[in-house]
């Protein structure tokens, strides 16, 4: 009995120490990525290539999702607003929901599952097939050559993807609200224009998506770099990337919203 209790305490201690150690390792990794970022900008084509893989190839899922989310917002928003006779505010509702929250958050979640998992799997497999070690033996720093360009590729892509998600969503809301249901065209756009503030809404949305980009890409890269070099190790790391970065996006969103819109 005592033995079992001690084992449980030891196990808990071991897990806590392990988690703290891993956080320290992740912080050092993140710091190393930042200090080795010079090459990503000196040889910008390396970063452009990663923007293509992380950003351009994620466009289809981002645009289609944005369109449908906007269309659903149009339908649901109209249902509620017409009860109070204020269906002319549909444009405002759609735009604010997308620019402030849904655009950055949903685009980041989609980015984590589409690009984040791909980054983890790629780096993990490069490690498992000794490509990372081979690069080190060729006197090329893999953090500078492989990791940092992917990091900046993700960080640059994320706000652009979120902006496109929001723009597509507004278009979806317009399709449903104005074209299908018949809300007044002029009111839809003019109310949106007067209600959406550039600094308070648009800029805050961009800042949010920038933070999400840093979080998702850093988590994906760390999980890939830290993955045990086996098939099972890479598959677990890929799953962890999606789970951890999705949770990180939602928690960060709450914190950022609290600071940005409540001023606490």
């Amino acid at each position: 009995m005592l033995e079992r209790g001690l084992a449980a305490i030891r196990g808990t201690g071991h897990r806590v120490v392990n988690a703290i150690w891993r956080m320290g390792y992740a912080s050092r990794f993140f710091f190393a990525v930042l200090t080795h970022s010079g090459m990503s900008f000196r040889r910008f084509y390396l970063t452009v290539k990663e923007i293509y893989f992380a950003g351009v190839l994620s466009l289809i899922i981002i645009l289609v999702s944005g369109l449908f989310v906007g269309m659903v917002l149009g339908l649901q928003g109209y249902e509620t607003l017409q009860k109070y006779g204020s269906e002319s505010a549909l444009g405002t509702l759609v735009a604010l929901s997308l620019v402030r929250e849904l655009g950055p958050v949903l685009a980041a979640l989609l980015f984590a599952s589409r690009a984040g998992s791909a980054i983890t799997a790629e780096i993990g497999l490069m490690k498992a097939t000794e490509q990372i070690t081979a690069m080190e033996m060729m006197a090329v720093n893999p953090i500078a050559r492989v990791v940092a360009p992917r990091f900046w590729g993700g960080v640059i892509s994320m706000p652009l993807l979120a902006a496109m998600f929001s723009a597509m969503g507004v278009f979806g809301g317009y399709l449903v609200g104005v074209v299908m249901i018949g809300v007044d065209d002029g009111q839809f756009w003019s109310q949106m224009q007067s209600a959406v503030d550039f600094r308070r809404d648009v800029l805050n949305g961009v800042i949010k998506s920038g933070v999400f980009g840093v979080a998702v890409t850093a988590i994906a890269l760390f999980e890939g770099y830290d993955a045990p070099p086996t098939a099972e190790g890479v598959s677990r790391a890929t799953t962890r990337t999606v789970v951890t970065s999705s949770l990180a996006v939602l928690v960060l969103d709450f914190l950022l919203t609290a600071f940005m819109f409540r001023g606490i």
């Binding site: 000794e130 490509q131 080190e136 060729m138 006197a139 090329v140 720093n141 050559r145």
Partner: protein, 270 residues
């Protein structure tokens, strides 16, 4: 006057967690020679290669390359030294997202400012040396195991290294590819004036091409000599290894409880 040994290993110990992997290793790798390090899988051969390349730090002792103690170098000096080393990994470790040509050109583009036209000539020269000039447009996934190993060899010699290290170059190859890789190791070493270390458990193929052999078992050097001397050894582990005998000093059975005890037969008899 440079030492006649390019690599000198003195009293090298390496411990992984608490498990000793290498114990008191002493080796000399003379300049211009091809030296094999042989032993069973898991005897510490690859670890030794990683210590020479500076990927691991020894617990005690030192590996010196060209007079410099590898584990005492800072990262800049270590990277400078690695530019003069080539390493062939067990399964090639080619970069799978770029072509054969770009793989061989990788180091040239990273470490030199050579114009692209000159890089093209150099890459084709290296690929010609391994017989794969015609395959320069292929992607690594389109190559057979033997071809991938040859491309990796061309990549390893891209910057004309002073030391070439081979980690199990013969593993998983058919007999023709075995001969091809074996010949290339010897000829490239002599043509480049380099020094080669071949870590392998393929005794027959390597004895044909090397100048000297170190035998390792359980983290220690247990025998050494020229191929002729090794072939002449008629006792113990070396004989078992050279002749591929199933039982000998290295037992067929993994240590454990007796067979009868595992089947609970002793209890029945009692």
């Amino acid at each position: 006057m440079p030492s006649e040994n390019l690599v000198e290993i003195r009293d090298l110990n390496f411990t992984y967690d608490v498990r000793p992997v290498l114990q008191g290793i002493n080796m000399d790798i003379p300049r211009g020679k091809v030296v094999a390090i042989m032993g069973l899988s898991g005897c510490g051969k690859t670890t030794l290669l990683r210590l020479i390349g500076g990927q691991l730090k020894p617990s005690q002792g030192a590996a010196k390359v060209a007079g410099q103690t590898v584990h005492e170098l800072d990262s800049d000096a270590l990277y400078r030294m690695r530019r003069r080393m080539g390493m062939l990994f067990q399964f090639g470790a080619l970069f799978t997202d770029i072509s054969v040509f770009d793989n061989v050109a990788f180091q040239m583009r990273e470490h030199t400012d050579l114009p692209e036209s000159l890089i093209r000539d150099l890459v084709l020269l290296k690929l010609e040396a391994v017989g794969l000039r015609g395959a320069h447009d292929l992607m690594p996934a389109e190559l057979s195991g033997g071809m991938a190993r040859r491309v990796a060899l061309a990549r390893a010699i891209a910057l004309d290294p002073m030391l070439i290290m081979y980690d199990e170059p013969f593993a998983g190859l058919d007999t023709i590819s075995l001969g091809v890789i074996g010949n290339l190791i010897r000829h490239l070493n002599d043509a480049l004036g380099a020094t080669s270390i071949v870590v392998t458990h393929d005794i027959q193929e390597s004895l044909k091409i090397v100048d000297y052999v170190y035998f390792m078992s359980e983290g220690r050097v247990i025998a050494q000599g020229t191929p002729a001397e090794i072939r002449a050894v008629d006792t113990g582990f070396v004989r078992q290894f050279v002749h591929g005998e199933i039982d000998g000093p290295m037992p067929f059975h993994y240590p454990g409880a007796t067979y009868a005890a595992d089947l609970a037969l002793e209890a029945v008899h009692a």
